[in-house]
């Protein structure tokens, strides 16, 4: 428990019209952990992602990432700070190749300008080679290298999920935020995903994970934050949270077991 906080959220609030999507959510993610974010549908998990990554401005509260506030940053600035995300409904660049998708992830860590692109000086050429090499390496890492030159939309569903993770990793994130990466995966694919996420953590990237697959969450996450109607109802070690009566009530008494049984 000595690892310092990588990300701390305090009093995060977000309202959409009459719906209070998030109200006063406090949490902290430690360096190097896999941190789960769970809750029933509509609990505000994805809203928290969108506020964190700057897609929506927060109505209240603040995120402190590596000791600095993220307040007022635009999505691309949040990415530059070192937070990368995936999306609940996959948002790949569908008509570009898998490799190009990952190469686009390198945008934020590379520098070529229009003039560099037009004149193709030695520096730009070296950068391009490095981008391509890194792109292939990341495709290997997540296990879709054999589809490198296929259009992203032609990839199998599970591969698309993996490709989205590779694209996010290409931005060299310190925190990788995954929005239901196992959704729609079968047991084998989920097992492979689990290994992948463990590898990512081992290689030094902290993970924030929204997931409905309770078995995966309980096996993988060090700590878990539970949201219900936009409020935090529990935070702590997975096993303890699972037994919390408030959590069980939120999942309508029994749904937790049901989820485990299904997985």
């Amino acid at each position: 428990m000595s690892s310092p906080d990588l990300l701390r959220g305090s009093g995060i609030a977000k309202r959409f019209g009459g719906v209070q999507a998030l109200s006063g959510v406090d949490f902290s993610i430690r360096q190097g952990e896999i941190y789960g974010l769970i809750g029933p549908n509509g609990a505000g998990k994805t809203s928290l992602f969108n506020v964190l990554t700057g897609i929506y401005p927060a109505d209240g509260g603040e995120f402190i990432f590596e000791g600095k506030s993220l307040a007022g940053l635009k999505p691309h600035e949040v990415a530059a700070r070192g937070i990368a995300r995936t999306f609940q409904n996959i948002r790949l660049f569908a008509n570009l190749s898998a490799l190009e998708n990952v190469m686009i992830g390198r945008h934020v860590r590379t520098h070529a300008t229009v003039f560099g692109a037009i004149f193709r000086n030695a520096r730009t050429r070296a950068e391009e080679r490095a981008i391509e090499k890194r792109g292939y390496a990341l495709l290997e890492y997540v296990g879709v290298a054999r589809r490198a030159n296929d259009l992203a939309r032609h990839l199998a569903y599970g591969d698309q999920r993996k490709l989205e993770i590779a694209r996010a990793l290409a931005t060299d994130p310190r925190l990788l935020a995954l929005d239901e990466p196992a959704a729609g995966m079968n047991a084998t694919e989920t097992a492979a995903l689990r290994t992948l996420l463990e590898n990512i953590r081992r290689d030094g990237t902290t993970i924030l994970l929204i997931e409905h697959d309770m078995k995966l969450v309980m096996n993988l996450c060090d700590r878990v934050l539970v949201l219900d109607y936009g409020k935090k109802i529990a935070e702590g070690v997975a096993a303890a949270v699972q037994k919390d009566p408030k959590v069980i009530a939120a999942y309508l008494g029994g749904d937790v077991e049901l989820d485990v049984a299904r997985a």
Partner: protein, 357 residues
């Protein structure tokens, strides 16, 4: 130039490049044999290719539907006309004015881009359409209180391109070959075109081009991956506009006369049709689309009348009407049977695939 050459078969590629070069070099003389009008038509076609390639950056790469693109052509044309004609009695050399024209058009690109950053699709199309019309109406009316554009009368007696005593408008005979004005402009245009093609290819396969394509595919994902979509969109508008500006300057010099009537909405639509017909986002497709839409109507202009004469002995229907009808049918058929264009962008990807496998 390596970007232009297929690296799989270097020998075949070299032969191909030589063949294309020879064809491009001989073409104007062959056309001049049929009639000087065809050299002029070809020059206009090359201008349209330049415009289509410029618009392709905005529409094809960045996915921003721009229906007012002709405005940048107009800006470039008027910058040249005003700085190289008796209107203000300025006669600056063209190599000074063309970069200025590109720069001014580029500024107008940013001017159009800034208020439209949050718009997409239909809404963007409407705003850009309005922008194109505003520019044309300004050009039409900026003759009072100070006469800047000379209003609907346009600007006349625009200087041709000149290098010292060498004028692009004069006919010269070198070693038995007659180089008419249009033929000289043809060579200049082809050189500019080659430069623009190389720039486009290089932009597409670069960090910048990929960022544009990312915005086209999914703007939210692009932003989340660290792409500053505001700057990248403005850059696309600025780059596209500056190509339009250069083309406009050359148009001004070649025609010697411009008026707001050359820059009507139909021209914007025409250029967009070239981009879409050829295959949005694919440079070679766009070139093909521009060539077809420039030449086919002209060929029809010269063939529809005589064909009727031959079949019916007299002209039944006005050739102009049939020409537009055939043109329209072709476009509709294209969109039905090949909606992604003649050479869709994804084809390039498949080529890439087989090249690497």
């Amino acid at each position: 130039m390596h970007a232009l050459i297929d690296t799989k078969h270097p020998a075949i590629a070299k032969v191909g490049v030589v063949l294309i070069a020879v064809t491009l070099a001989v073409l104007p003389f062959a056309l001049a044999g049929i009639g000087t009008a065809w050299v002029r038509i070809t020059n206009l076609a090359v201008l349209y290719i330049l415009l289509s390639l410029g618009l392709n950056i905005v529409v094809g790469f960045a996915g921003l539907l721009d229906l007012g693109y002709i405005a940048f052509y107009a800006v470039g044309a008027y910058v040249y006309a005003l700085l190289a004609s008796p209107h203000f009695d300025l006669h600056w050399p063209f190599w000074v004015i063309l970069p200025i024209g590109a720069l001014v058009a580029c500024m107008f690109g940013v001017l159009l881009g800034t208020p439209t950053l949050k718009l997409r699709g239909d809404y963007l199309a409407i705003v850009t359409l309005g922008f194109g019309e505003i520019i044309r109406i300004f050009l039409n009316n900026l003759s009072q209180p100070i006469n800047i554009t000379n209003g609907p009368q346009g600007v006349t007696l625009i200087d041709p391109f000149r290098f010292g005593t060498f004028s692009f408008a004069k006919t010269e005979t070198v070693a038995g070959l007659t180089f008419s004005g249009p033929i000289k402009y043809y060579y200049l245009l082809v050189i500019v075109l080659l430069v623009v093609i190389v720039i486009n290819l290089r932009l597409q396969n670069s960090r910048i081009g990929r960022a544009w394509e990312a915005i086209r595919e999914d703007e939210i994902a692009a932003r989340s991956m660290g792409i500053n979509t505001r700057n990248m969109k403005l850059l696309a508008f600025a780059m596209g506009a500056s190509f339009g500006g250069v083309a406009g300057g050359m148009f001004s010099a070649i025609q010697g006369f411009i008026s707001p009537e050359s820059f009507v909405l139909v021209e914007s639509v025409n250029i967009l049709a070239m981009v879409v017909l050829g295959g949005m986002g694919n440079i070679w497709g766009v070139i093909l689309g521009a060539l077809l839409l420039s030449f086919v109507p002209e060929v029809l202009r010269y063939t529809v009348g005589p064909a009727q004469q031959a079949v019916f002995g007299r002209t039944l229907i006005d050739p102009e009407v049939i020409r537009m009808l055939l043109f329209g049918i072709t476009l509709v058929a294209m969109m039905l049977f090949r909606p992604a264009g003649i050479l869709p962008s994804a084809l390039r990807k498949r080529e890439l695939e087989t090249a690497r496998a």
